[in-house]
Amino acid sequence: MDTAFVIQQLIFGITLGCLYSLIAIGYTMVYGVIRLINFAHGDLLMVAAYIGFFGIVIYHLPWPVAFGISILLTAALGILIDRGAYKPLRDSPRISALITAIGVSFLLENLGIVIIGGRPKSFPRPSLFEGDLQFDQLILPYLSLWVLGITVMLLTLVLLIVHRTRVGMAMRALSRDFETVRLMGVDVDRVISFTFVLGSSLAAVGGIFWCMKYPAVEPFMGVIPGLKAFVAAVLGGIGSVSGAALGGLLLGLAEVLIVAIQPEWSGYRDAVAFTILIAILLTRPTGIMGEELPK
């Protein structure tokens, strides 16, 4: 176990962690504003991957155009899901909306199977993201640098929007007190739509990079990353944007390091991830960066 090996694992862990973070930020934003765990979030990632795939492979679009369209359409789908499935239940008990979210998730997955079929497709990786830097024994794939850079950039952007803009202020206000904000004359539905646009675009970016790293596109591909991102969001403190990013990073690092350092445990990879979750929830129910519960 030399240092180079450990540093190499840190690089892989951070890459995986950043991907979880990207997806987790979208999860946590929707939760923060309407207190809904949007289980369809992972499936938006799948939809984005398919749109990107079709754009490049079937319609031969240049990749930036295909990715742009993919992000736009996924954002639109996010609004559509909110308007169609969640809005009618805004004033119902929270559990109804939660079950609807699971329903939307199944709907998207099965639509994928019916329309496209269950066989995995290979996602093309543009040459910009190919290749790597090599230092002695260390390998630093360009894709890892891109993932890290994009994650940091988007995280900063989301934090700026939430803390520095009017719509961000409205979002924060909504997360505090829904009714009062509505009474103050804020167009609540527009703010929520904006949240879904932001969250879904992040899922789309996450999905595209996920597929470039692990190029198998299939209808259930969003389930596992979605679940892991959910764990990351809870780990970091659900509702907190920087918490989600931190949670994702920790989860990615933990998963990679466990397998690398204790190969016999590689089968327990998920078990360890979820054990960390349970441990955190037992000691700090609101997550690492979550707000304190009112006493």
Binding site: G118, S122, P225, V259, S266
Partner: protein, 371 residues
Amino acid sequence: MLKLVSMLSLLCLGFAAASWASQPIVIGAYLPMTGGVASYGQMAWSGITVAKKMEPDVLGRTVDVRLVDTKSDKVDAANAVSRLIERDKVVAIIGEMISGNTIAGSDHAERSAIPMVSPTATNPIVTQNKKYIFRVCFIDPDQGRIAAKLAKDQLGAKTAALIYDISQDYCVALASFFKNEFTALGGKILAETKFKTGDRDFTPQVSRIKSVNPDIIYAPIYYTECALIAKQAREMGLNKPILTGDGAQAPELLSLGGSAVEDVYFTAHFHKDMINTTRGKKFLEQYKKETGKELDAFSAMAADAYFIILDAIKRAGSDDSKKIREALATTKDFEGVTGAITIKPDGNPIKAMVVNKVKDGAFVYVTTIKP
């Protein structure tokens, strides 16, 4: 009056018998049409469809094949078998494609005494202590042994690293059979790394393998994971040869793996270049005509499962499940698509094995190993 009634009832009986005779014989198929190993199910189904067109009836009755999707899942596989038996009243069942799901599905068939023929479930447990479960493929102890010999003798490997899926019976067993034989031949296993179905990130496992620097990587796993592992290994500069099993032979291995899976060797059931039976030649032609695609291993194996059931029904002279079972168990030198099939009393066939490799983005036939 009495005469009239008896005549009428005789007439009715006659009609009933006639309508019974024209009723189709229903065979069930439970296949992974979606999910992790969807390619196997879809290839198998196209094989069964073409086989059914080639031989659409038996005992003067048409054959009806009912398909149920198992979603590549064990629980769904078990449910699919119950559904086929309880609701569709099938007389025999084709499926499943992978060992774990077949083990899950075979229980109900065994209890209900409905014969089942798996095209490609290779784990030895599938047919063990089961009277009604058969298969048309070789079994993993043989596959692991031949893979170890191949690694040692042909590829000149002295050391090996393993990577396999611990949630699949097939992968765990095949890895251990390989390990035993390879060590018995004087080889050394340097690392044993594992993952779980659905995992997409294999970087820690691959870097582990890279750090022990083996002569060969044995990866007895399914095609998606195999392609991704090959890709991640090549990206990380791990260029050792990869040897895998029959689970690799899906077109997705090539499309997902691209240049990373070049020179991947694998033990397999079938390659279209080895066809030597009349039925095989006819099927190859018909398959090409119907689907426009080249015949693949899983379509051919599933077609053999269909043909062997039809043959058993013919020899049994009835659609009674128990009689079909007896006929299946005495199958001898049946001219299948993939070669001559003789079923041993334990439900396993005597079958030749093929070694294939990936070359220029296609599966290439290397050699046949006789049983």
